[in-house]
Symmetry: C2
Subunit: 211 residues, 2 copies
């Protein structure tokens, strides 16, 4: 089975959605990307008429890349993200990355936040049948990153969005200023402002291309 042929997404930017009447179509971008390196259909970023990003569809069917965890109990109760950071990449973008070693325009990363179940230990961990540690609990919002060099020139070519750090997730979100998210990505993330040092699946691909 060819991995690239197995996932087909039926929505492309510009195709109508149930709630699509307020959406700004980015069909021009979609066409230029669709004619690129991959034959796999992609889910591309969707924006409202006033430029807000629409909550991406169907992210739990995207490709999981890793889940760093920085619990509050290990960060003086003030972790920026005390939850599991369940990070997904849009699979059509991944297919192109696998072929080229570069994240294409329109790449979307979705970071779904998931609280740990409350722990009885000082480090926030709890003890279950499988041992002492951290166990996934309720979902708690999401952050989304979109690559678009023309739209986000001030933040390294990526746009950073907060769809709430609680439930329910927002339906749309406005781009965050550089100091809030992009700064740290630009300073410390290994490859193209993406934390590939924590995502071996992505890092191994970069290494094939010398990155």
């Amino acid at each position: 089975m060819n991995r690239k042929s197995t996932v087909i997404f039926s929505v492309l930017a510009g195709v109508s959605l149930a709630s699509g009447s307020f959406l700004f179509s980015s069909a021009g971008d979609a066409q230029s990307i669709a004619s690129g390196e991959s034959s796999e259909a992609r889910y591309l970023p969707e924006y409202t008429a006033n430029g807000e990003l629409v909550l991406p569809k169907n992210w739990r069917h995207w490709v999981f890349v890793g889940s760093p965890l920085t619990p509050n109990a290990l960060n003086d109760g003030k972790a920026n993200f005390p939850e599991f950071h369940n990070v997904y990449i849009e699979p059509g973008s991944l297919a192109i990355y696998e072929k080229t070693g570069e994240f294409p325009e329109g790449t979307i990363f979705f970071k779904e936040l998931q609280l740990t179940l409350q722990g009885e230990n000082p480090d926030g961990s709890r003890t279950e049948a499988s041992g002492r540690g951290y166990f996934p609990g309720p979902f708690n919002g999401a952050d989304v990153t979109v690559k678009d060099s023309k739209r986000y020139p001030e933040t390294g070519g990526w746009g950073y969005y907060n769809f709430n750090h609680h439930e329910p997730k927002a339906m749309t979100a406005s781009v965050r200023p550089k100091g809030e998210c992009a700064y740290c990505h630009m300073a410390s993330a290994k490859k193209d402002d993406v934390w590939t040092q924590f995502y071996p699946m992505l890092d191994n691909i970069a290494k094939k291309f010398g990155g």
Copy 2:
């Protein structure tokens, strides 16, 4: 967009594979399942002629359900699974579970083990730009669970397989005895021997059906 219509897998049990000459076809089971509650194609368990389970294909394109973490440093250096437990469910099985509230025959869970990056702190954590915590490192083997009430009557209707707790993953594996895996699942897992108490996405579905 209908989530259930978006992911199409082209391999069903019994369809030839590149390495398929040694495979035992379970097409009979596949047909009975394919005519069931869901219209979505499924990837079903494949067995060798001598009854070993074949390493499932393409699991990183399955649906991630959660990643519990029980680090060695919190378990006297002897955690059963010191890695992130990245657990996936085969998406065709999930589609049926979403409709029925029950895991159908042929459901596959794939637990990919992923070491944490080495930490400098006594609890095994390390400090990165995002804070102190646990960060994904190299992959480290996998365990797989398959539901088949007829094949695995002694272990609660599920078969438990170890595809190595190191890399590379084994290509095939033999079923594990009850005392090794099933016992704990049968004693403590919330729903049908699955740890839905740690996977809210699955637990929320069970709750809709009163489970």
